[in-house]
């Protein structure tokens, strides 16, 4: 067998869910695969290859970002939150709770991305209208729920959070 391809290892330092990681990655490694395969954060899902489905949505420096659209190397220095980082001491984030209360998920595959998009929405717009919620979800695809209960889930979370911008 031939030798492994040599690649210029890129050093990166990122803080993910409050934990700092310093490591090297292959330049072409997408952030989503870095999170999934290097850090075992498998709640970040891959559902497409054209940045359409949003299953890989995370927060990067406080903004919802599709982690399949950027390279791990580009995230150097960033602060990242994935769905695994939302719960605090075993207590679910209100958006996670809302998805359970309002049956906002069926197969659960799009759910982490949906939740991360919703968290970002509520951080910038604590009391969104239905239309604003639907608009915010344009980049996240769900094939099970018809989105109806996802919208309900996010409304539930907004109410639970008191319509206020609660920084967690």
């Amino acid at each position: 067998m031939a030798a492994e391809i040599e690649f210029a290892a890129v050093p990166i330092r990122v803080t993910v869910n409050g934990v700092q990681h310093e490591t090297v990655v292959e330049p072409r490694t997408l952030l989503v695969y870095f999170l999934r395969e290097h850090l075992s954060l498998t709640g970040v899902h891959v559902g497409c290859d054209t940045s359409q489905c949003g299953a890989c949505t995370i927060q990067l420096n406080g903004r919802a970002v599709k982690s399949c659209t950027i390279l791990a190397a580009q995230a150097n220095g960033a602060e990242i939150t994935t769905v695994e980082g939302l719960a605090r001491e075993g207590v679910l984030h209100p958006v996670q709770e809302g998805f359970r209360e309002k049956h906002g998920l069926q197969c659960g595959y799009c759910t982490p991305g949906m939740i991360m998009t919703a968290v970002s929405l509520l951080e910038t717009n604590p009391n969104p209208t239905e239309e604003e919620i639907r608009h915010a979800l344009e980049g996240n695809l769900c094939r099970c729920t018809g989105y109806i209960n996802i919208v309900e889930s996010i409304r539930w979370a907004a109410e639970k959070m008191g319509g206020k911008n609660v920084s967690r």
Partner: protein
């Protein structure tokens, strides 16, 4: 929200799902989440030609690349095929190899495969394989494939016909001879992509014992295991198929796919675990697609609207290769062609056709939506032609409640129904007369507004048996093993409600296990709206047997007669003496501790294989008001009312969620979604960039 802690009132309660805490935390385990030491990755080189001769394949460069363990082409695995059992007499079953040899017959089919140390290396190497093709004429449209001189989709065959099947009843010719009006219509259902958000995938590990462990994104672990054993020539009892969390299926994750067999074969050959996860682009062109049936119908009527006879010819596009379920949906369409109506004189013919397209198969309804589209549009057209009210025409011909069980003109028995009731409910809920006034006013203003009405029947069940085991553990907790594995339907919740209710325990007392062939007795799977009827039915019967045995043990423990033991919260009590109680824990301790009645086997577990031999026929009616913008052509659903009688509802929240999802897919089909191929058969809608799946902003408000 109903309490989750009391056994009373579990049936019909919108209980939050047991599945969700794990899934919302991102702690689900889907196939791609499984990482094994020493795992290798499989990637494919796929063709973009719909039909071409393979002149040469050059793999040297790929084989020489770093990290590549093996490169295989069709010739290397020519002994392996996808097994397909005939569904229809005289069905043609052309070879379905894992990697094509000689020619490609659909865009997306794999010509070569690579196993390498990483996903990226495998993809790099697949990209380094060179294939020379000579394009052949292709045929994409099923009706065109039947025209004289059409290219052969599969050159091994002498025509493009896979099978012709007919169902008839009554005297159709006489009915048409007596007709005062014949309504004729041609309509086609657009080809759909199932598009489960989790793409298909497999992880396989050959075990040192000679066993094979397979993690698969599948709807039917047992069925797939059987087919995998056949395909590999490997003993079924040495294969363990695990369906972990499965990210949607909608019918498309039922069959055994080529990549799965090849991954297993190569893992066995290399003695290493292998992973393959489809990219979305691969999933688009390799996963079975839905619909694509063209229907030509004639409805014979009297002037007063009495329906006399029905002729339907369905030309069904099966694609280039057959999977185990590919021939199915047109059969389903045929079996429900007369819909909700008394039409005893029927002649329904299916011509199932090979084309140079992705294979079709079951998708969300699998023949049911095609059938409803056909009969309901036909009736609307007939009403218009005869100048009759479309509702009156439907009502005049509905099968009436007192006629059930009713054998239709295509020889299928419906168990029950009250179609007038569901239609009336839809009229009432939609405020139909007001909608019509609004429509007329809008039309008078020159706007494009319409109101549509549809009824439907829909069978649930089928596909042989399903199995259920109910086991009371030593401590009295209850484990249920079901062959019906979940991929989003909430089985772990709904089934627990059923069993907890049956056994008079709290839901926390019950755990539902599914999706692992080593744990679960032989089973079938989840598709065709069968889970609650078949899975729920089998476990309920098993629970009844456990209860019978437990009653005798309980009676033995308190020295009472078994017939005096009544089920009580958490166990049994002596009739009239509620304080004389025996808990499940006490019964289980006796069952496993040698304190059973003389002659009784120890243990407390029962398994039932359930085959009701007929299906449960749900029914309903929908009303929609639709506006089309004259300037932009954009359709807007202004109102959508759905009445769906689905029998006893276990968990209304889950059932409504299923309806929401079905509506989204149905609206997608009606308004936006279609898999398209170009004139030369090239894939036009092979990614989410150009296949118009429904998004959050596209959904109207629903009235259920």
């Amino acid at each position: 929200m109903t309490s989750e802690h009391t056994p009373a009132g579990l049936i019909g309660a919108s209980i939050r799902r047991v599945e969700d805490p794990v899934l919302v935390a991102g702690k689900g385990c889907y196939v791609d989440d499984i990482q094994l030491p020493g795992m290798l990755y499989l990637a494919f080189l796929r063709t973009t030609y719909p039909h071409a001769k393979i002149i040469s394949i050059t793999t040297n460069a790929a084989k020489a690349m770093a990290g590549v363990l093996t490169v295989v082409i069709g010739e290397d695995v020519k002994q392996l095929n996808i097994p397909v059992a005939p569904m229809v007499p005289d069905q043609k079953i052309p070879p379905h190899p894992l990697l094509v040899r000689g020619a490609v017959h659909e865009a997306g089919v794999a010509v070569a495969a690579v196993v390498a140390r990483s996903r990226a290396l495998a993809q790099d190497a697949a990209g380094a394989i060179e294939v020379e093709y000579e394009a052949l004429p292709s045929v994409i449209d099923a009706e065109k494939a039947l025209e004289p001189g059409a290219p052969l989709a599969r050159e091994e065959l002498d025509s493009n016909i896979c099978y012709v099947a007919t169902k008839k009843g009554g005297d159709v010719e006489k009915a048409f001879a007596q007709a005062e009006h014949i309504c004729r219509m041609h309509i086609a259902s657009p080809r759909q992509v199932a598009l489960a958000i989790e793409p298909r995938g497999i992880v396989v590990r050959p075990e040192p014992t000679g066993d094979l462990t397979v993690w698969l994104s599948t709807q039917a672990p047992h069925r797939v295991r059987g087919d995998l054993a056949t395909a590999l020539g490997f003993p079924e009892h040495k294969i363990r198929v695990i369906a972990p969390d499965v990210g949607g299926g909608f019918g498309s994750k039922g069959p055994l796919y080529r990549e799965y067999v090849l991954a297993c074969h190569l893992a066995l050959k290399l003695g290493r675990p292998i992973k393959w996860i489809a990219t979305r682009s691969e999933d688009f062109v390799t996963t079975i697609q839905g619909r694509d049936q063209a229907m030509t119908s004639e409805l014979a009527l009297k002037k007063d609207g009495t329906m006399l006879g029905l002729k339907v010819r369905v030309v069904a596009n099966l694609g280039a290769y057959l999977y185990s379920s590919t021939a199915g949906p047109p059969q389903r369409m045929m079996g429900m062609a007369p819909g909700s109506y008394q039409i005893q004189n029927c002649h329904v013919e299916v011509v199932a056709v090979f084309t140079n397209t992705t294979p079709t198969g079951p998708y969300r309804g699998a023949g049911r939506p095609e059938s409803v589209l056909n009969i309901e549009r036909l009736i609307d057209k007939a009403a218009k032609e005869l100048g009759l009210d479309r509702l009156a025409l439907r009502r005049k011909n509905f099968i009436r409640p007192e006629q059930f069980p009713y054998k239709t003109g295509v020889g299928v028995e419906y168990d029950s129904g009250d179609y007038e009731k569901s239609l009336s409910a839809a009229m009432r809920l939609s405020d139909y007369d007001k909608l019509i006034r609004e429509r007329d006013a809008a039309q008078a203003r020159g706007e494009l507004v319409g109101v549509g009405v549809s009824t439907f029947v829909e069978p649930s069940g089928g596909a042989g048996f399903e199995s259920g085991t109910v086991r009371v553990e030593r401590t009295g907790e209850i484990t249920v093993l079901t062959g019906s594995s979940s991929h989003g339907q909430g089985h772990e919740t709904s089934y627990a409600q059923v069993i907890a209710d049956k056994m008079h325990v709290s839901m926390e007392h019950v755990v539902i296990r599914h999706g692992d062939t080593i744990a679960v007795q032989q089973g079938v799977g989840t598709f065709g709206s069968r889970s609650m009827v078949m899975g729920g039915g089998s476990m309920t019967l098993a629970a009844e047997r456990v209860i019978q045995k437990a009653r005798r043990i309980a009676a033995h423990l308190v020295e009472a007669a078994p017939e005096d033991m009544m089920q009580a919260d958490g166990g049994f009590a002596v009739a009239g003496v509620p304080e004389k109680k025996v808990t499940w824990r006490q019964i289980a301790a006796a069952a496993y501790g040698g304190r059973v009645p003389p002659g009784m086997e120890p243990g407390l577990q029962e398994t039932v294989f359930f085959d009701p031999r007929r299906e449960a026929w749900g029914f309903g009616a929908h009303v929609a008001m639709v506006r089309i913008d004259r300037e932009t052509g954009k359709p807007t659903i202004e109102k959508l009312v759905l009445v769906d009688d689905c029998g006893v509802i276990i968990n209304p929240m889950i059932v409504e969620g299923q309806v929401h999802g079905g509506v989204a897919q149905g609206l997608g089909e009606a308004l936006r979604e279609q898999m398209l191929f170009g004139d030369e058969g090239q894939v036009l809608t092979g990614t989410l960039m150009n296949y118009a799946v429904m998004r959050a902003g596209d959904m109207p408000e629903l009235t259920l």
